[in-house]
């Protein structure tokens, strides 16, 4: 079995997967911080919205979310190209999990830090942005790393809405060549390599943040 036969054909599709993954992660990161901070310190109405968002997207199936956006949005008069629909679904879904990570990390900063900030007359907002959030960043990164890998693996679902990602392309080539083991084997290896790259990048980021916040010297 020679895996390299299918490699060139699959790499282009892998780039599509990676692009969807990156864009949805950018969106997820903004949503994570937005909703996570809202859950931690927002006014009641904003907390309620963030809570509803997080629970709806964590409590329902990603595939159904994807189909819903793909089939239901056009009925509401909003029609997005499949690519954007995929990014949107993944970003919303991962962002919901990320928001819980952010909220948990913010809560893990000790009450004593809040008191020290109050004694120095920082406002609530200053305490959040200058004292609490920077300290909680290190706590978030390991969980973000697994969410990012999960997000990469979940991109395979976009093949269901006609996007020619790695999974879609692998299926297509397999149908043509019937070389099931080699095609899917190659696809697995590519996913694995991409996941390892994400993990490595997040490790570097973790070290950077740890160093710039006094956790490592």
């Amino acid at each position: 079995m020679d895996l390299s036969v299918h490699l060139p054909n699959l790499l282009g599709a892998a780039a599509t997967s990676l692009l969807i993954c990156s864009l949805s992660l950018l969106m997820a990161a903004s949503l994570s911080f937005g909703a996570g901070v809202a859950l931690f310190a927002g006014p009641a109405w904003l907390r309620a919205i963030a809570f509803a968002y997080v629970e709806i997207f964590r409590g329902t199936s990603l595939l159904v979310q994807l189909f819903w956006l793909y089939f239901a949005l056009p009925l509401l008069g909003i029609s997005l190209p499949p690519f954007l629909t995929g990014v949107l679904a993944l970003g919303l879904n991962t962002g919901a999990y990320g928001a819980e990570v952010v909220r948990g990390a913010l809560r893990s900063v000790s009450q004593q830090q809040h008191e020290a900030a109050r004694a120095l007359n920082f406002t609530r907002n200053q305490t959040l942005w200058r004292i609490v959030l920077p300290q909680s960043l290190v706590e978030m990164l390991p969980s973000f790393s697994s969410l990012a890998v999960q997000n990469l693996k979940d991109t395979s679902l976009v093949s269901m809405i006609t996007i020619a990602d790695l999974t879609f392309k692998a299926q297509e080539i397999r149908n043509l060549t019937q070389d099931t083991v080699a095609v899917y084997g190659t696809a697995l290896l590519i996913y694995f390599a991409m996941a390892m790259s994400i993990v490595a990048l997040m490790r570097i980021l973790e070290t950077r943040v740890a160093r710039s916040t006094g956790r490592l010297s």
Partner: protein, 255 residues
């Protein structure tokens, strides 16, 4: 410029558990007052109320002429942010466990609040921070992170950080209780140098009896949420009048 403090008939409960009852305490501007007493008697609570970290249920607290009043019989209401901001601008606090910001260098710990809260320029704040670090003997640690310092060094940074805000009142809650015995001296000597400053009112809770005796203008013996006896250090330590004071002092001095 320093500020006076007056607690008037203050009540403080945690849930149904009363901690302070009819609590009265007056501290003159520039005075150094020490609270001693058994643990659980409410000493920290007094400091925490002054620092606005805890609300109270009844009575009146006056700081430098600004009163915060809790009307009798009314449920506790909370001071406005404006009021709290004004009070906190006058009061600083040094905590038992230092509570430095671990993600900032020592210098940044001293510069952050003066720039963000007081609106000082970066240069001005850094200049002042450098002076304060020199005063507490830590000029060489400006670039270190708190986690790289000993407990005694961290507490000296914490004192400098509080002073950087130019408080009129400085509160110390057992500043040396979390320290190894050999590190206590360096922190006490910094506090000692402050006690002689006339423009700083100091209120301190400590178990270092010899130190309390040395630096205080007045010592208050605290038990069960009220001051049992107070007076000049010599009077309290040499000739306590109350039986409970005698018992406490003999237990800590001989214990």
């Amino acid at each position: 410029m320093s500020a006076s403090i007056e607690f008037n008939q203050l009540h403080k409960r945690y849930g149904a558990h009363p901690v302070l009852r009819d609590f009265d305490l007056k501290v003159q501007a520039g005075e150094t007052v020490t609270l001693i007493g058994p643990s659980g008697s409410g000493k920290s609570t007094v400091l925490r109320i002054l620092m606005t970290l805890e609300p109270f249920q009844e009575g009146c607290l006056t700081l430098d002429g600004i009163s915060y009043h809790q009307p009798h019989g009314k449920p506790p209401f909370f001071a406005s942010d404006v009021h709290l901001h004004k009070v906190r601008a006058k009061v600083g606090m040094v905590f038992q466990s230092f509570n430095l910001f671990p993600h900032m260098t020592v210098l940044r710990n001293l510069v952050e609040a003066p720039t963000a809260v007081l609106g000082l320029s970066r240069d001005e704040a850094e200049g002042r921070a450098v002076e304060l670090l020199h005063m507490v003997g830590l000029s060489d640690k400006a670039k270190a992170y708190p986690g790289q310092l000993s407990g005694g060094q961290q507490q000296r940074v914490a004192i400098a950080r509080a002073l950087a805000m130019r408080p009129q009142v400085l509160l110390f809650d057992e500043p040396t209780s979390a320290l190894d015995p050999e590190l206590v001296g360096e922190v006490l000597s910094v506090i000692r140098s402050l006690a002689h400053e006339h423009d700083l009112t100091m209120l301190m809770v400590t178990h270092e009896m010899r130190f309390a005796r040395e630096i205080s203008d007045r010592v208050c013996f605290f038990e069960g949420g009220r001051i049992v006896e107070q007076g000049k250090p010599d009077q309290i330590f040499n000739a306590p009048e109350q039986e409970r004071t005698k018992r406490f002092l003999s237990s800590v001095l001989n214990g």
